[in-house]
Amino acid sequence: MPSHDLLPSDEPVQLLDQHGRRTEDSTHRFPSDQELLRAHEALVVGRRINEQAYALVRQGRLAVYPSSHGQEACEVAAALVMGDGDWLFPTYRDTVSIVGRGVDPVDALVLLKGDWHSGYDPTVHRVAPQATPLATQLVHAVGVAHAATLRGEDTVVMAMCGDGATSEGDFHEALNFAAVFKAPVVFFVQNNEYAISVPLARQSVAPSLAHKGVGYGMPGERVDGNDVAALLSVLGSAVDAARGGGGPQLVEAHTYRMQAHTNADDATRYRQDDEVEAWRDRDPLLRSEAYLVGRELLTEERRSAIAATAEEVAASMRDGLMKDVEPVASDLFAHVYATPTPQLREQAAFLDEELSREGAR
């Protein structure tokens, strides 16, 4: 492919401006009313999930929570553009996308609650465990996609990471492997301007992160990460291209992390409030709401129906996560190997015996 076909647009694709008005853009498909309504509901629910999870941390029910507050449009669109047979590879920040793929929020939060390392069966919803070691999951995504290709299945894999993760060697190896093997993967980078405290300027001096596609012979595109319409359009085309045999695609969404990296982080140490304030007007929910209201698609009934759904989700999160799950000691040894080694059987017996004595005491 000649290099100019690989270069992203100079500006991120935007279909709705921050007041919810349609832009001039005519080259990208504008989503249907139904798609946008569905997306808006998901946005409201996603925001509610972030708020509820945040509250649960405060109440000590979650060990930690990396919120996608402000990034919900990316989270929601990534899940909506995928087909049933497709795979999602999320990070610790992508709880909302995971829920968007059908995983129960309570199961999605098991890692952060601390009961176990992951709370759902990845094979059921085709959602990989949330990845903490940055960029490592991108390589797995290529393998999953290549296995599908070898079997002639038309699975597409949505592989997510942040701006900071693009600096890791595994990002490079994943994109290159995908390109060489023409693996149907959409690499979706959420550029929220920070890697914990480190601003994008310390991460890369490339014209954009989407420009990284060129070095792999992979088309890259830039999109406004707070514009759910643009995201549905750009990510949708990327998924179609990958499914259609066009090979892997790179999409960079420009968004912003409205809260601290996690509740444990103190963002005041590295960014000013006015910087954060400036982004409030670009809230993805305001934008889709303004558009839908303007089109008289978001009626009062519809609005309250959506609010009710969001409250249900929040309530079930509270119920599920308020429960104390009695930790099972034997779980420590049960899953390390398909059949525990003699050494692990010995160690399990040792712990059993110790616990029974304690019980006796």
Binding site: P122, T136, A147, D170, D331
Partner: protein, 329 residues
């Protein structure tokens, strides 16, 4: 495939791969130069020709990518076998190996198992330059979730490779480079003990030599030499580093009351340390002397001209045996 002929260890590995790929369509072999070239040690010779480039293929030159791609392929129904070209070149894949390959099953409570075989040509004695002769087994055996085997015979090369590929869990197969060209007449269909089993290679009554991989032939030579001097040494081939066969190893040591562990890797916090520790913990009152170690020194692997000074030798083993307090204290 039944046969009864003299073949090299490299060929035995090759047969194991071919037979596994024939029996199971989901077995894939990939890495650097494993296709047309057949691997720098020819272990994958002919596989891409026989099974096609989609079953045995070269990847871009990136070990973390190779290991990570294996994780994804295994998550989606394949049985990947990857080759790390030389031991030291597996290090770029360390994060994928430790944080994912070893932990995925546990992380997902068994929902996702990773039947990945990681082939690592290991250790020295081949006159190789820097980075081509590391003994990296200590890093792997210390990592929970990995199974680690080190064949020392041609027959074991075939059996342990087949078992590694058949295993539902990730298995690191340490292929002893310097034994690749060792020849034996073997019947590949003849069942050998599987993963998790140590084997007494030579009976003996005075002391027990415990070895694995490249050190087994050296230990056997030492036993021959000792016999000539009228001392009867028993030789145990550990074969399976994880899981470890305490029963066989401790049984052997109890039978002689004296033991020397032989391994070529640096000794500090190594497999040899673990064997000394567990044998002592389990056989303390049967021991007439402390269990000794004959290992490589705690130095970077030496250049070709000096490696002979580093590697466990017959004399060094016999010297260690001599220190086992024969005149009881």
């Amino acid at each position: 495939m039944a046969q009864h002929e003299k073949i090299t260890m490299a060929q035995a590995f090759n047969h194991a791969l071919r037979d596994a790929m024939t029996d199971d369509e989901s077995v894939l072999m990939f890495g650097e130069d494993v296709g047309a070239l057949g691997g720098v040690f020819r272990v994958t010779d002919g596989l891409s020709a026989e099974f096609g480039d989609s079953r045995c293929f070269d990847t871009p030159l990136a070990e973390s990518g190779i290991m990570g791609m294996a994780v994804g392929l295994a998550m989606n129904g394949m049985r990947p076998v990857v080759e790390m070209q030389f031991d030291a070149f597996a290090y770029p894949a360390f994060e994928q190996l430790v944080s994912h390959v070893a932990k995925m099953r546990n992380r997902t409570r068994g929902a996702v198992n990773l039947p990945i075989t990681i082939r690592i040509p290991y250790a020295g004695g081949i006159g190789g330059v820097e980075h081509h002769c590391d003994s990296s087994e200590a890093y792997y055996v210390h990592t929970p979730g990995l199974t680690v085997v080190a064949p020392a015979t041609v027959a074991d090369a075939y059996t342990l490779m087949r078992e590694a590929i058949a295993s539902p869990d990730p298995v690191v197969v340490l292929e002893p480079k310097k034994l690749y060209w060792s020849k034996e007449e073997v019947d590949l269909d003849e069942a050998q003990p599987g993963i998790g089993r140590a084997v007494v290679r030579r009976e003996g009554t005075d002391a027990t030599l415990i070895a694995y991989g490249t050190s087994v032939p050296t230990a056997l030579e030492a036993a021959d030499a000792a016999a000539a001097e009228g001392r009867s040494l028993q030789v145990v081939d550990v074969r399976s580093l994880v899981p470890f066969d305490d029963e066989t190893v401790c049984g052997a040591v109890r039978s002689t009351g004296r033991a020397v562990v032989v391994a070529e890797s640096a000794g500090f916090a190594s497999v040899a340390s673990e064997i000394v520790a567990r044998v002592t913990e389990r056989c303390f009152h049967h021991l007439a002397a402390p269990v000794r170690r004959v290992t490589g020194f705690d130095i970077p692997y030496p250049p070709p001209k000096l490696e002979h000074l580093h590697l466990p030798s017959v004399d060094r083993i016999l010297d260690a045996v001599d220190t086992l307090q024969w005149e009881d204290v």
